[in-house]
Amino acid sequence: MIKYGKIDNFGITNDQMSQLNFDDYFQCYQQTPAIEQYYTEHNSSIWQMFETSPQWVHDLAKKIPQDFDHHVVSVINIPPGQTIPHHVDKHFKLKQEHGEGESHRYLIFLEDWKRGHYYEVHDQPFTKWNAGDWVKFGIDDWHIAGNMGEQPFYSAQVTVLKND
């Protein structure tokens, strides 16, 4: 089930955003033959940080519903013209480290919505968000994102696991 919520008093500043120092630029996973046909390193590459994310990204895990035992965080920058095509996230690494259970992802929007920024999960497009809004979804929820605007599209992910 898709859930939506908001972190009150979000307070992430433009300065904090601009100081994000991404070091990993890679092509998104291609999970279906159709994705392989249309999406390449040229139109589906993103910046992402995991453990090296600044402390304020790690602290986001304290600001979402505490319905989990373990978590990992990351932050993503989708540059203009890039996409994250249809995919599901299985959270293998989290489960490998912390055992089996039910896992979810909180996608947290780090800035107010900007023109051309686009996210959709399970046929539910999501736009016009405010900084601090989040979407929670599971391992079987296909989702996509894209940036046809002129500015980077920043989001954070807190992937959570509730052990069985």
């Binding site: 139109n43 203009p80 013209g81 095509p85 023109r115 051309g116 686009y118 399970h122 996509i144 002129e150």
Partner: protein, 180 residues
């Protein structure tokens, strides 16, 4: 927002895929949008902002048939657009240059009328097909639904799905009361 609906149940999706497009347009310049707003051109991928188009006498029969469903649009011209997966048209404004030039050249009576572009959806909403007009996004629509794009409205479109995105546009003049 959706402004109306025309019955396109007769239009088979296979016809869309058989459409012959006569132009492949790279929209990187966004019709002057970046320049007009003193903005740097985004570092879009080279083959990203590309739209396939066919229009007017080159447009297929189904396009002409749909155009006739909009008699309120005078001096209308028709275009079929295809945006392939992974491609998009960045933010831009339609300036209706060609339409306005034709109006002057042919001395059309456009008193009390405004240029308008009708955007007709030729497919039901597909996950990853995205249209945004003047900050309005279209979370749901059905084949045959249509909306209007007016002068000065910034809009953009993208296809993050695995399926071609087809729309039809009818461009002409209309009385404001006829396009409410």
């Amino acid at each position: 927002m959706i402004k109306g609906h025309v019955d396109l149940s007769w239009l088979d999706e296979r016809e869309l895929y058989l459409t012959k497009f006569v132009e492949e347009t790279n929209t990187i310049w966004s019709g002057g949008y970046w320049k007009d707003n003193n903005m740097a051109i985004p570092d879009y991928p080279t083959d990203g902002p590309i739209v396939l188009q066919t229009y007017d006498e080159y447009a297929p029969a189904y396009a002409q048939k749909i155009r006739e469903l909009f008699p309120q649009i005078e001096h209308s011209m028709v275009t079929v657009n295809c945006i392939k997966p992974g491609r998009f048209i960045g933010p831009h404004i339609d300036k209706f240059f060609r339409l306005n030039d034709l109006a002057k050249l042919n001395k059309w009576d456009i008193e009390g009328k405004i240029p308008v572009r009708v955007n007709v959806f030729l497919q039901d909403k597909i996950m990853g097909h995205f249209l945004e007009i003047a900050d309005y996004t279209f979370p749901e629509y059905s084949k045959g639904d249509y909306t209007y794009i007016l002068k000065d409205q910034v809009h953009c479109v993208s296809n993050v799905s695995n399926i071609n995105r087809y729309t039809l546009q009818i461009t002409g003049y209309a009385k404001t009361k006829d396009i409410q």
